[in-house]
């Protein structure tokens, strides 16, 4: 057990200036040194196509590469957090902004992030000529876009659902907008924000790895990192190196979880809105250590006056806003809607015009057909994942001991970047002569199936014990039991898992419908491969068309299928 290696907080408290403090100081120093060492690497010279950073496949370099990738992840997380706070706040506090920002968020969420790489890479390289920073920024941006939408939605939702009486109390006690933000709005959103950030961060590994080694506009770009290490190993058909990379990423994910997310979750538990103490609170040994140490507290006390001054300054700058009026739509609002409609219409017309004049209507029909193929893959994936993982998930969920043991494992599997497994699967396909047209389904499922499992477990745990006992009592068995109790009971959890899994699968199709091992490349027929190929050669009309078509598919399926299932889950199968 990891916990045993550290003395309990009680024991630590006995030391006057405790071991905990030494651990905290050492930890901080190590962290700073690591960041300095790794951060320096981002500033090396880069003059494509003459000077390009290479990847050394010696496994001893792996910690450094992993560090580079991790640093990117955290910078992206920081950007996501800042963006979330600003975007969510503005959307929740301005009715006009809300009407643009929320639908926009909805669409951005459905757009395949990887398809955008071509646009962003060229843009960022132009921004930082002669330095790796451009590529660095493009990779961070890709990771950012994979994380941010979920977090922003969660924050916006929390802001809209702040309990009414708390809101009134803050108004009546005349808190400035800054005070309201720091005392009420952010804290009440904290738990949702931290959980969403953690889940998005897990998904982010996939994108950071995919964005480190890409070919865009007939040019191969390599950014030192664990993703590009894997890419290099694939090109050299170097299996041992791949194994080392796999081990490294597993260790990194575990470390980040223990050192960063667990403490954060343990800390954020105090922001629970229920006013009664809950039985099991999340635990973290790092958090306990920080709590026991005195340095953080002393530092906090020393900084209080400065903090006070900053708070007072920001409060003075943000006087309390007048209570929200419930006035109906102003005539100005109608004008505003018209302008909005016009802008959106103009954008759509421009895009359609661009596509029609460059590649023509036939290409549109072709991509639609390719989209149907990919849709078929996603559907097959969902059906199989459901058939396999729901029974297993329910079995785990009904067994509390097993659930406690396995839930972290499933969480780990969900955040494990599937593209690290791709080369092994590719080798397997090559040797067994399985067509990539079917194989890509397996590749897509490597990342997305866990959401089904994860949510099945949660759903099964949510079925009240007395309902389960009742089902035994009246003798429900086998299929009957599934039909009457389990399926309705886990339905809403399954819908949540299904949406996430299908979104993930669409995104993954861009990298899993086209895979390579050494010199051999397997290409499936599908929209994902279409986008990947268009991106590689820099065919702008086809990139636009491909991304547009995929977004259309995702948005359409969300509207037609998932939203309806959600409503059904909320009204009929609500436990």
């Amino acid at each position: 057990m990891l916990k045993r290696t550290f003395p309990s907080p009680e024991a630590l408290r006995r030391f006057p200036f405790g071991l905990a403090d030494i651990a905290v100081i050492l930890g901080t120093l190590v962290l700073l040194a690591l960041i300095a060492r790794i951060g320096a690497g981002t500033l090396v010279s880069f003059q494509p196509p003459d000077v390009m950073p290479g990847i050394d496949l010696d496994p001893r370099n792996l910690p450094y590469y992993a560090g580079r990738s991790t640093l990117r992840m955290f910078i992206a997380l920081l950007c996501s957090t800042v963006f979330t706070l600003v975007y969510g706040y503005v959307a929740a506090n301005s009715r006009r902004a809300e009407r643009v920002m929320i639908p926009l968020l909805d669409i951005l969420q459905s757009v395949p992030v990887l398809g955008f790489l071509s646009i962003t890479v060229t843009g960022f390289i132009a921004l930082f000529p002669g330095s790796l920073l451009g590529l660095e920024a493009a990779s961070i941006f890709a990771t950012f876009t994979s994380q941010v939408w979920n977090m922003t939605f969660s924050f916006y939702q929390s802001l809209r659902t702040v309990p009414k009486e708390l809101d009134e109390a803050m108004t009546l006690y005349r808190l400035s907008r800054w005070q309201r933000f720091t005392k009420l709005e952010v804290p009440s959103a904290m738990i949702g924000l931290v959980w969403n950030a953690m889940m998005s961060f897990g998904g982010g590994w996939f994108f950071v790895a995919a964005s480190e080694a890409i070919s865009v506009l007939n040019q191969n770009y390599t950014l030192p990192g664990i993703g590009s290490y894997v890419a290099a190993a694939i090109a050299k058909e170097d299996l041992p190196s791949l194994g080392w990379a796999l081990l490294t990423i597993a260790v990194v994910i575990l470390l980040v979880d223990q050192m960063f997310w667990r403490p954060l979750i343990a800390w954020s538990d105090k922001f629970r809105l229920e006013q009664s103490a809950s039985a099991d609170t999340p635990q973290s040994w790092v958090y306990d250590l920080l709590q026991t140490a005195r340095i953080p507290r002393l530092l906090g006390k020393a900084l209080t006056p400065i903090q006070d001054r900053i708070n007072r300054l920001l409060s003075a700058l943000t006087p309390p806003s007048p209570p929200r009026s419930d006035a109906p739509e102003q005539p100005n609002d109608r004008l505003y809607s018209l302008i909005l409609l016009f802008v959106v219409g103009a954008l759509v017309v421009t895009a359609i015009h661009f596509i029609l004049t460059t590649v023509g209507i036939n290409e549109v029909v072709t991509t639609f057909g390719l989209g149907l193929l990919t849709l078929l893959r996603v559907t097959v994936l969902l059906i199989f994942a459901t058939l396999i993982w729901t029974p297993i998930g329910v079995a785990i969920g009904f067994n509390p001991k097993l659930a406690r043991l396995l839930q972290p494992v499933v969480q780990f599997l969900a955040s494990f970047p599937a593209n690290f497994i791709f080369p092994f699967a590719t080798l397997f396909f090559i040797h067994t002569h399985i067509s990539i047209n079917w194989g890509s389904i397996l590749l897509m499922s490597l990342g997305s199936q866990w959401y089904i499992l994860f949510n099945s477990i949660a759903g099964a745990q949510g079925i009240p014990t007395d309902l389960r006992e009742m089902s035994m009592d009246v003798g429900l068995q086998g299929w009957q039991r599934w039909r009457r109790l389990i399926i309705p009971g886990i339905f809403s959890a399954w819908v949540t898992g299904g949406v996430t899994a299908s979104g993930g699968a669409w995104n993954a199709s861009i990298v899993s419908e086209i895979v390579s091992w050494g010199q051999s490349t397997l290409i499936a027929t599908g929209l994902g491969a279409y986008i990947a190929q268009a991106t590689a050669v820099g065919d702008w009309p086809r990139i636009t068309l491909g991304i547009g078509m995929m977004s259309l598919f995702v948005v359409g399926i969300n509207r037609l299928l998932w939203r309806r299932l959600y409503r059904l889950a909320e009204t009929k199968y609500h436990l």
Partner: protein
Amino acid sequence: MTTMQTPPDSLIAVKQVHKSFPLPDGKGEFNVLRDINMTVRAGEVVALLGRSGSGKSTLLRIMAGLIPPSQGRVFSNGKPLYGANKNVAMVFQSFALLPWLTVQENVELGLEAQGMPRDERRHRALKAIDLVGLDGFESAYPKELSGGMKQRVGFARAFVLEPQVLLMDEPFSALDVLTSENLRGEIDDLWNAGTFPSKSILIVTHNIEEGVFLADRVIILGSNPGQVRGEVVIDLPRSHDRTSDRFKALVDYIYTIMTNPEVEVTASAPAIVSKTPTETPVPRSPYAKALPHARVGGISGLLELIIDQPDGKDDIPRLAERIQLEVDDLLPILDSVVLLGFAEVSQGDVQLTEIGQDFATTTILRSKDLFRQQALQNVPMLSSIVQTLQEKRSRSMRADFFLDLLDEYYPHEEAERQFATVVDWGRYAELFEYDASEDRLYLPELVAAAVTEEP
């Protein structure tokens, strides 16, 4: 505009205030408050008493400056009020404490907003915490406290601001009986001792006894839309002795007023400003007349309780005390019983009619017949729905159709509640069936058959 004068000692004056909320889909407005005039003077405790739907909480929030009135003005200290009222502090029904702040940080919140230095606000907060008897809990988090202690924090947070008027929004209704009794007594003691941190108290309540116990003056609000029906002066020496005959008489009197919307608030209690509610014209549509929100189970349960009393007659305050139901829950049931012709209410007493006695004692099948008969006679909404269904060839209709009709007269939430009540009654009376998954109303086979047989 007429010149508006406020009495010199008035802390809050409400002048001709109207409040309405827009109905969904631009279907007009829903009136919550109509022509409200009232004042809160220095040194008095005022209770606002009304049933649900009387807009009492809305009125309180208008005085706090949390909601702007649609028409009319609120004056605080003689000055027109814009935005949140600086001279008041509020105690909330749900406590409204921030769970991530300690007791002390919660209490300091208002002072911090004023930009008071750390030491000063700490000193004052500790004094307020001391006053409400929470010494030793300064660094506790709200979730560690019981409900009563949480509300003490709520009081301390309001006290520390030393407001002119302390507003209380049903402050004891989320607490259990014993705890609320205890806290109410302590607040009363504090007021009577003359050390109260505010000049006046305005309390919103639906508990008649609570109002009479705490207040010097009880203002009674009528419903739909909310309006001031009048006020009852509690002419008792403080602290009001609950066992005195006068106390009981006042409680009885207020019950009588509250159960009879037509009664003028006069007589019996001295010094009464009376106002006759202007007669609302006969509603045009059967859907405009609101049903009291009572389920059939509650109706028959109440009737069975009353029939056990001698002569099928019961004193309403005693009944309320016996079954531990507060006005908000009891009065809708009483209203339904009266509406359906099962009982009559007068002088604070409820008396079963013959049909009511029959209903309470007979078998289930017969009581359903009685209920159907009374409902068709007295509830236009029900008979209108049945008629609509009969006119349809399919003998069924989408629920949305009726909800739309209700939406014309109520905010959507209330329309849904009205619909739920009418469905409950109609199902029990076997007048129609409701399929929730299809969201349709059906005539049951029998009724449909009976109708087709008729030429």
